[in-house]
Structure formats: structure tokens, C-alpha cells
Symmetry: C2
Subunit: 416 residues, 2 copies
Amino acid sequence: MHKIKIGIIGFGTVGSAVLKLIQQNGALISNRIGLKFEVSKIADISTKVRHPKLVRDAYQIINDPEISIVVEAVGGIKPALDYILSAIRAGKHVVTSNKEVIALYGDKILKEAAKNKTMVRFEGAVGGGIPIIGPLSSDLLANDLTEVYGIVNGTTNFILSKMTKDGLEFTEALKEAQNKGFAEVKPQKDIDGYDASYKAAILASVAFCAKINWKDIYFEGIKRITQEDIRYADEIGYIIKLLAVAKKSAAGLEVRVHPTLISKDHPLASVSGPMNAIYVKGNAVGELMFYGPGAGGAPTASAIVGDIIAIVNPKFQMLNLNLKSLKIKSINEITSRYYIRLTAPDKHGVLAGISKAFADEKVSIAAVMQKEMTGKTATIVIIIHESKEANLRRAVAKLKKLSVVKKVCNVIRVGL
Amino acid sequence: MHKIKIGIIGFGTVGSAVLKLIQQNGALISNRIGLKFEVSKIADISTKVRHPKLVRDAYQIINDPEISIVVEAVGGIKPALDYILSAIRAGKHVVTSNKEVIALYGDKILKEAAKNKTMVRFEGAVGGGIPIIGPLSSDLLANDLTEVYGIVNGTTNFILSKMTKDGLEFTEALKEAQNKGFAEVKPQKDIDGYDASYKAAILASVAFCAKINWKDIYFEGIKRITQEDIRYADEIGYIIKLLAVAKKSAAGLEVRVHPTLISKDHPLASVSGPMNAIYVKGNAVGELMFYGPGAGGAPTASAIVGDIIAIVNPKFQMLNLNLKSLKIKSINEITSRYYIRLTAPDKHGVLAGISKAFADEKVSIAAVMQKEMTGKTATIVIIIHESKEANLRRAVAKLKKLSVVKKVCNVIRVGL
């Protein structure tokens, strides 16, 4: 099987997660695309981790003729930009999740890539593991996209969610975010809106196929949001979120980041904690939302390795050939929780009889609620703990024969 | 510019929407991918619509050597399957949104495509305009996906939402769905779960890279769900949805469709009306959700034309070269609604003074709420109608100078 050699520059959270994912899912990926990935070198100047593939100098990767794909996982502008440009000039494809370098130098990087006929992909730069740059730049390309609104910073969304749900003030919520690892010790880039502004620039650029000057983007952070604001917004049906806004109309383009009152009915309103979501409107597709984890090593690695796959295997069929035929479990073999509604005469012994029917089939009851009474008939709702469907069905068959049960009206599975 | 000739078989809702989208956004798409699409023939045996490109016989498209891409928009198995296989054998790429033919004959179609070195894409077969087959088969390919749960039938979701929100019984809600065009006159394929079962088969097959035998899928419709069930579920914190379930574990594969009690906290619970959503769990990415319109001509056409673009232009860079530089409006030029919190002494003339400051700048007040009182200071919350930011800022500057205003505590934009 043809082997693709990959170099990873930067061995922090993201770089090590990429290595781990290629090791963990490598066989599965090879199986799917008919190619094998090998991380042949990892460059990091300062890591204390030891690894046999580790080199000090990034140029040992950039100048290695056997490496065809470079993952830039250093972050920031310097020296990441130099690494990216040098790798491209050396004829390598580059994958990065570095929002700052793409937002500020995406145009320069793309021109260099075109000159050298290499690919640059950056799915992980916005929304972590959420596929959004791919869909915007490919699946949705037939649309004239007019609106892209994103909750694209997990730190601020965690803080605002905490303030909303637990009544904390900003500084308390920030402290909790730091304790839980959702905010850095120096949290300015997140809470002052820089991070979201980079992502807004990238989203607008990809969605509107436009060159965006990051310096033109207005952005505000969340420091001045108080408990009072959150409470008053709540009273009139709104929730406060840090929103990246990109709008295109005949009147011009708007790209900005600021705290925003969002109606509780809007799909973005329910995106809480460190989660991210991007809401998109197009002239053919209408309204879409993409929701998921906006940061973290493994989700970002999912995006990076997805980009690598797209580079080496762009013509992947939507359905693979030579699929293994997998047998689906019969419905009797599955397990689920269940909701059961039945009617029974209002007399003694009803619950005892019902309980025994379930117990006999090793099906255990989680809750029983006696509901409305019509004449001498009571409606009973029963919730069943995770059970095997075959057992549940046998128990229900028994119920139907009991003199203390008038009718089993409905059985519905409970999930999620 | 190189011209790609497309043939559309079937001129109903989907076929005509594809034609319309290519006409409407054609220039924009050409601009982006450097290729021009031309619908050179449309085949429909029964349409009464007149169109200069219309032919009666689908084989006039299939046998046309100039056409390289065939859009199958007939639906159902016969004669759609024959058209698809014949087009592939004639060396053409095929795009379809026909869930039934892909669920039942996807394997056969893919084998024929491999033999003839053509591409088959079917993004529109699940979730209408929502990019989901693309992300599952490409962006997320690095993951071992373990769970895919979908609200994939708009008709049943509309009916269940109506039953939940308006207290209607099933037959009443069905009637309303039919009146609004969300259910067909013969609604069995939707309400009995067939449609969702086809989509479950496709989702499972793509997500797990597995051959799925549709006949093994257990499915139930929603006819037996009553108002009582919805009310009792609500009381214990659940909402009832028709859910397509696909789960993979060491214990085996589960693919099924049935009404399910979903906790109100779950992201899928808020998907209402005719909207669709697919929730996905992968071992690297964690939890994702894709939300959008599950049906309709224009959203499906968005998916179909997206597939055409992916076939002709698989190596599209995430950022285009030669982007037009678009100027972003300055923050002063934007318009927005606003939330303003200020404090004022509790005396006469406060509101008059505030109102005048806004009116002088042509900024109009939507609502004023007097909030808490601390000593002799009142907190006032004001909501401002859509206004130009420059005017709003001038008004706020004036407020700050008023003797009847103690402090303007916060100004937050209101959006969505």
C-alpha cells in the first residue's frame, strides 16, 4: 500500500493529538482510502516529551524530500508563517488549524501554494472539529451565501453560559473556566474577542469568496457583560452570546464580533458551555446550523487528518466499494429504555400484578406514575430501565393477559 | 471557459429547482470554479411544462456523448435505477437525491460506477440541503464514528411538532401538514417510516463504511402517538421525535427507525417543524449536529449542484485565488437593534429627557423598562429599534451628558 509521509511541526496539544489519531485510527483510515499515513518526523524546539520521531529543527521536516504533507501545529504568526511558506516552496501540502496565520496571511499563503501547485487546508482553524470550512468551500458552493453567524469561541461561551445558568459575575465565571481548563491563564485573546475576530475573517472570506482585511473587523470582548444584563435580557426573551457576524447584501459587507442578545427561539441560543456553532444562510439552501466542540486536541486532530485525507484522496466516492457487509441486530436483540402507557381498573393489586410481570422477565421499572382517572379506569405511565427488547416484549405480552390491566395503549422507546 | 454539459432526467420539483439554481447562481459558480455549467437537455415523459431543452426520452440524455453529468430526479426505483445504471455504463457521472434507489441499490450502483470509472454522488438523499453525506464520507473520515441519530423526515417532524405545540391529535396535525404542503395526499411513505428507513440505511452505510441490507432495518411510523403520550413525555422532561438510529459497538450494529422519547436538553430536541438534523458521534471529534431544511426544491438543488461541483472540481482550495477584495463597512455604518442599560435618579422628567436625546438623533425606542431601585437610583433598560450605529452612538453620547442620567452602564447589540 502506498505510504504518505507526514511531518508535524509543533508537539503541543494539537500536534500530539494528530499523532495519536493517526496511530489510533490509522488502520481504519487505510482501509477506507487505500493509502497508509506515516508520521515520519515531529519537530519541536522546546518540548520535554521524548519521542523517537522527534527532531529539534522544523527545517528537517521542510527539507525532507520524502515528506509530502506538513502539519503546522505551532500557532501564532512567528515562526509559523515562515514554516508554512517554506514548506509550500519545498512543494509540500500544508494543513494547519492556525486561525491567526490564516486570517492575517491566508491570501499570501494561497498565492504561494498556487505558484507551487500545492494544497493548503485549514478546517481546524474555525469551530475545532466541526466541519464548516469544507462545507462552505465545497458542499455549499452552489449558493450565494448571505449570512454566517458563529459562536466560535469556546472560552467566552463557557463563561457566558456559566453567568447565565449559575448567576455568576464575569470574574467568577472566568476563574471557573480557568480551573476547568476552558480558559488560559492569560485569557485576553479569548475574552477580548481576538480569537473570534480571526475566525470571523476566515468564515467571511470562505463564505463570500472575498479577501477580508482583518484590520477592518470591529470586535469587542465580553468583559463588560454583567449579571444584570444577563438577567434583563432573559426577562425579555434573550440570551447573551459572543457572536461573530458576517453579512453580505447589496448595501455591502459586515464582519464584526461583539456580545449580542439572541432570541431564545433561535437555534444558536441553545449552544452552551464550551460548544461552538455556526449558522449559515444561503439563497438556495436556506438556513443551516453546524454544531460541535470548538476546541480541544482530538476534535482539532479530526479536522486536520480529515484535511490530509482530502488532499491525498479528493475523488473519494460517497460510498466505498468493497464494503464489508455488516449484520444489523434484530429488534429483539437491542436494548433500550421504554415508556409504557396502560389503563387499569382502580383497585388493589394492580401495581403488584404489573410489577411481577416485569420482574418475571428481568425487566426493571424506573418509575411509575398514576395519571388521569376516567370513571373507574386509571391511566398508568411506566418508565423501564435499559432492557433487552425481547424481554420487554414478553413482559408486555404478559401484561396484556393480566386481569388487572385493561389495555396496553402504547410502548415507545426512550433514547438520548 | 470550459463548459460542462448536464442532463436532467425528471422535471418535477427537484429537476426544475436544479435548472433554476444553475441559471440563478451560474455566473457566481463559474467565477468560483472556472468552469461553466450548461443544462443541455431535460427529459420528462409526462410534464406539461414547456421548455426549449425538454425531450421526452431519458435516453436522449443518456446517449448524448456531449453530456458528462446526469442528474437523476425521477425518484423511486423504476425506471430511475435503469436510468442511473445506463448513464454510468455510458461513462457519465451521476448525481441523485433518490434515497430509495441509493438505500436499496447503492452497492450495485457503486460497483457499476467503479467499473466505468465514473462518480456517483447523493448528498441530497439525506437531510435535503444539509451537508451530511459529504462531511461523513470526507471531512469526518478520520473518525471511527459510533453513533448517528437523525430527525430525517420533515413530514413526521412537522406533525409531531404540531401535536406538541398546539395540542392537536395525529389526524388533525396530519391534515394541517397536508394543507401546508408538508405532507402528501398519500402520506404513508412518510408517516409509516419508509422514507426515514431509507435515509437510516444510507447514513449507516456511509458513516460505518458498511454494506447495509435495508430489509434488516426495523422501522415504525408515528400513527400510534397520541396527545396523551406527548403530554406525559413532556411532564417527565421528554419530547417525542421520529428518530433514525444507527449505532456501532463491539456488540454489533443497530439501525432502526421509531418514535423516541428524547430528553429536552438534547440538541435534537429543539429541532421542530419541517426541519431536519443529524447528530453524529466520533471517537476523535466527539459530538456534532448538522441542522437545516430536510426537503424542498431549492435546498435539494443546493445539494445536487454542490455534488456536481465536487465531481468536476474536487481539488478546490479552501480559499480561492484571485479573490475580490471586499471592503467591510465600518462599525458606524452598520444598523442593529440595541439594548441599553442606564441608571437615573428617581424623579420626574427622566424619560422625557432620554426620549428627546434619542429622537434628536432619529433613533427610535422600542421598549423601556424601569428595573430595580437602589436608594434613589433607578435602573432603566431600553430596547432600540433597528438604527444606524453612528446615530445610536451620538444619542448615547448625549445621554451621558444629561443631568437626568447618572450612568450609561452598557450598550449591547441585539441580533437574531
